[in-house]
């Protein structure tokens, strides 16, 4: 848990505030009025200003202008780009797909991650091998994983349908069928990410005091009871942290769409970030792409801040 809280900038801010007040006297004594600290942070700020702060303002600015293949010179249109999005069934579809993908991927991969961590948190032979089996998809580039799964989902001879055939089931044309393509992406995302989230749970489990479990055992609590009422609640901090990174990662899905379906069939696998890419670079509609980017930034901001609040409350009142 200490590892985890240090990994979350927002969870530890509280701690550092109190340590600052404690050392005020000392830092006064050594107060530096020189330019040195500014010079030390200057390189970082040049890059952060050029590629995060200014672009954020730029994208807000550009979202208020119309600029596309018909209108070459940007023209101020106020919130019209956003209004157009609200009326656009294509955008509704993309947003719906994105939400479905996030809701389908995050809980499933986290539940699996928790289960895997529980299974691995025992004294067993060959543990390192099992851990490797769960974790290796994390190391694969998404483009490689997508290429592999393009092959896995091939309708006639792909491994997925081949295995289903052994079970007597005739599998669908996963990536060619509008109703199966999103589940196919979810399945692949779960395979790719569960092992990554697992290591956070493993770290959490290893940080738990064995006292709790000895007490539970003395009380004759069942295995399942112990997990549900002791292990899981104790790891709530981990769960919230992993939820944040999982949701933020899921909203940024694009690589596998590019490789596997290009958003099809019939827009059924088009997600927000890929739509931004296509709108700007394929359809050359810079104004709409900027508006879409603003929507994505807002979603990510709201979610991270909201989650930070929840984490902070839990950490504070635990």
């Amino acid at each position: 848990m200490s590892d985890l809280s240090s990994a979350n900038p927002f969870a530890t801010e509280r701690v550092s505030v109190s340590s600052t007040t404690g050392s005020i006297a000392r830092s006064r004594r050594r107060a530096q009025s020189s330019l040195l600290p500014y010079l030390l942070i200057l390189p970082t700020f040049i890059f952060v200003t050029a590629f995060t702060l200014l672009p954020t303002l730029n994208v807000l600015h550009d979202s208020l202008f119309r600029q596309n293949q018909a209108v070459r010179v940007p023209r101020f249109v106020g919130l019209e780009n956003f209004a157009n999005l609200l009326d656009d069934p294509g955008f509704h579809k993309v947003l719906g797909n994105t939400l479905l993908f996030v809701v389908g991927t995050v809980p499933l991969s986290m539940a699996l991650a928790f289960g895997m961590a529980l299974l691995l948190n025992q004294h067993l032979r060959g543990l390192a091998l099992y851990r490797l089996a769960f974790f290796y998809p994390t190391i694969l580039p998404m483009v490689s994983a997508a290429t592999i799964w393009l092959f896995m989902y091939a309708p006639e001879y792909g491994l997925v349908n081949e295995l289903l055939r052994v079970g007597g089931v005739r599998g669908p044309n996963w990536l060619g069928d509008p109703s199966w393509v999103l589940p196919a992406f979810i399945l692949m995302a779960v395979w790719k990410q569960a092992g990554y989230y697992m290591v956070f749970y493993l770290a959490g489990l290893q940080g738990l005091s064995s006292d709790y479990f000895e007490a539970a055992q003395l009380d004759g609590a069942s295995w399942w009871h112990t997990i549900r009422h002791i292990t899981f609640p104790l790891l709530m901090g981990t769960t919230l942290f992993v939820t944040t990174i999982a949701v933020v990662a899921s909203f940024q899905t694009a690589d596998q769409i590019y490789v596997m379906t290009a958003g099809g069939p019939d827009n059924a696998s088009n997600l927000l970030l890929f739509d931004i890419y296509e709108t700007n670079f394929r359809f050359q509609d810079h104004g709409s792409a900027s508006a879409l980017s603003v929507v994505l930034v807002l979603i990510l901001l709201v979610f991270t801040v909201l989650n930070f609040r929840v984490v902070e409350r839990r950490v504070t009142y635990d």
């Binding site: 530890t12 000392r26 107060a31 040195l36 500014y38 030390l40 942070i41 390189p43 970082t44 890059f47 952060v48 590629f51 995060t52 672009p55 730029n58 994208v59 550009d62 091998l129 099992y130 089996a133 769960f134 974790f135 290796y136 998809p137 994390t138 190391i139 694969l140 580039p141 998404m142 483009v143 490689s144 290429t147 592999i148 799964w149 393009l150 092959f151 896995m152 006639e156 491994l159 081949e162 395979w191 990554y196 290591v199 956070f200 942290f241 933020v248 694009a254 690589d255 490789v259 970030l273 931004i276 890419y277 700007n280 900027s290 980017s293 994505l296 990510l300 901001l301 991270t304 801040v305």
Partner: protein, 274 residues
Amino acid sequence: MTRRTRQAMLTLLLVAVSAIWLLPIVWTILVSFRPATEPIVSGRIWFGSTLTLENYATAFRIAPFGTYYLNTLLIAFGILAAQLVTITLAGYAFARFEFRGRDLLFALLLLQILIPSAALIIPNYATIRTLGLFDTQLAIMLPYCGSAFGTFLMRQTFKSVPRDLDDAARMDGANWLQVLRFVYLPAGTASLVAFALASITFHWNEFLWPLVVTNSERTRPLTVGLAVFTQLGELGAQWPLVTAATLIVAGPLFVFFLIFQRQFINSFVRSGLK
């Protein structure tokens, strides 16, 4: 259910899930050694008539994977080199200096964690165009040369260095650079290694940004090269070739990971950043 049966069932579950998780990569590896001329058909998807390395040779002949390798190495290690300098300096400043506007500047910096670069590809692409850097490796690297997360990590690490050590070194006449070099850096090595592994993995695997700012074989990294390769029309569904290319792209980092597994996993847990 006795303890023993439960244990046996859990082990069985572990074996089953691991097997499912390993199937895609095992199949990929096997197919990459199949003769390219033998079609993959239902019922015969695992092995061909013989094992061959021909697909790897062909992949290297069709596409300049050597150039792609060099580009990826240049990009991943170039970004890392810049980051190690910027995050160490900035982390040191935020950890041990009092200066006007410090907290505000730190909060501004953290915005980089809240707004992932993927959401800013459109304006960043415009910036790269304005700078005249389109289709260069530098264009891929620049947005990542400063890291809020890395700065945060180094600030936390440096804060744990006892002040007395710092004071003693200064008393002996050390300047700030010597203090940083001999007092703080040794304490920060573990954090820097953790950051480095996560950073290299992220940039080795990154796709969308390099795709957007490159347009030629000369500058493309492996990931973009692979996507272009798989979409070559004339290849059709030549899976032995495509799987070989996939493994060419993922291989080196994967071997590196196998050797330093513990450090990698530790690094990922600490960073929460891929």
